[in-house]
């Protein structure tokens, strides 16, 4: 139904994820070292967006408590896929676009930052799940906001002072 938009905006917060079907926008603000992962099924028009904070849940598996899976790249993405399947998305049709993983602080150090680890684990997890990455806007030393148009699958990345980009 081209031209019909509800303009409903679903906000995805840090260490969080959400799925939307049909139309509307998924948005996550403030990707610093975090990585935003958009998964999209263009046939069923199901969009999913995750805002991942850390890379590896297994580093914390000795904790007594259950970890929030949305926090880590390795657990957030399978969970996102599952939720998309519940709304009619099919894993085999999913395409990914990713953004973020910057180094806002510690720019002068050579130590691999959280951001870089997040990017690597995200790519690795997507590859393991057989989901291709169509586009990325990652790295650098600045923050990003990521918006997914659920009707078209278009992703818009905006920044402070560096303009906008479409993925």
């Amino acid at each position: 139904m081209a031209g019909k938009t509800t303009n409903e905006i679903v906000k995805v917060k840090i260490a969080d994820l959400a799925v939307k079907k049909g139309e509307g926008t998924l948005v996550t603000i403030g990707l610093g070292s975090c990585v935003g992962v958009s998964l999209y099924d263009g046939i069923a028009k199901v969009g999913g967006l995750a805002h991942v904070l850390l890379s590896d849940s297994t580093q914390f598996s000795n904790q007594k408590k259950e970890q929030n899976p949305a926090k880590f790249a390795d657990t957030a993405l399978p969970l996102l896929v599952k939720k998309m399947e519940q709304q009619g998305g099919q894993k085999s049709r999913l395409k990914a676009k990713i953004a973020g993983g910057s180094k806002l602080f510690g720019k002068n150090s050579n130590i691999i930052g959280v951001g870089e680890k997040n990017i690597q684990m995200t790519r690795q997890t997507l590859e393991q799940m057989g989901i291709p990455v169509l586009a990325e806007d990652v790295g650098g030393d600045y923050g990003r906001t990521m918006k997914v148009d659920v009707y078209t699958g278009d992703v818009t990345i905006s920044t402070v002072g560096r303009g906008e980009k479409k993925l």
């Binding site: 917060k13 603000i29 403030g30 610093g32």
Partner: protein, 215 residues
């Protein structure tokens, strides 16, 4: 009772509030001296056990551009580590530049605040952050009896959400709820406002409570 919530009782929150109180008091005094202003006011410190997802919103609109000064601090005697973030809205950054670097610009409209600011402006903001840090670390030292040393401060000018997210990631905290120590300072005469967020890492918080005598 949830594991996290049982650790956080009234006595502990009160001690943290006192820590925040002394810290922000020191910071306000320092700022009033630097700005040569008669009054720099502080709001009642907020100490809260907050959901991780809600933390960025606590420091203002996550999409708004701010200046953030970040540093880590460690005790020289015990295994206590924390990260701290001092956040200033851009208007406040401009005011600091006008006031502390006189002659750098004729008025606020001349000033371009961005990640590409000049060396001296960046340096000045880092120093303000350093001084504010000194105030909080003195407070922590006073309460725990330990000495705390900070890393050299770093500055980022970017959207608030991204800065806060980056700092949260650095804490290596595993909880889904974080204890937030948030203090706000206002200069009475001008619109300078700053928020300070302090996040001790997991084990450190327990050690701090022990030293404060609140188990």
């Amino acid at each position: 009772m949830d594991h996290e919530e049982s650790r956080v009782n009234q006595a502990r929150m009160d001690m943290l509030k006192e820590l925040a109180n002394i810290g922000v008091g020191n910071a306000a005094t320092s700022l009033s001296q630097m700005l040569e202003e008669a009054r720099v006011d502080m709001e009642v410190p907020e100490v809260k056990l907050e959901e991780l997802q809600e933390v960025p919103e606590h420091l203002g609109d996550p999409e708004s551009a701010v200046g953030g000064v970040y540093f880590e601090a460690q005790s020289t005697e015990e295994d206590i580590n924390l990260v701290c973030l001092f956040v200033l809205p851009l208007d406040s950054v401009k005011y600091l530049i006008l006031k502390l670097l006189p002659g750098w610009a004729s008025d606020a409209s001349d000033i371009d605040v961005s990640a590409d600011m000049g060396e001296m402006e960046i340096s000045m903001l880092r120093e303000v952050g350093n001084i504010v840090a000194g105030g909080y670390l003195s407070a922590l030292s006073f309460i725990t009896g330990l000495t705390f040393l900070p890393s050299p401060p770093q500055l980022a000018v970017d959207m608030s959400g991204a800065i806060v997210g980056a700092v949260i990631a650095e804490t290596r905290l595993v909880d889904d709820k974080l204890i937030l120590l948030k203090t706000t300072i206002h200069s009475a005469q001008h619109s300078i406002e700053g928020n300070v967020l302090i996040l001790p890492d997991e084990g450190s918080l327990e050690r701090i409570f022990k030293l404060m005598g609140v188990e």
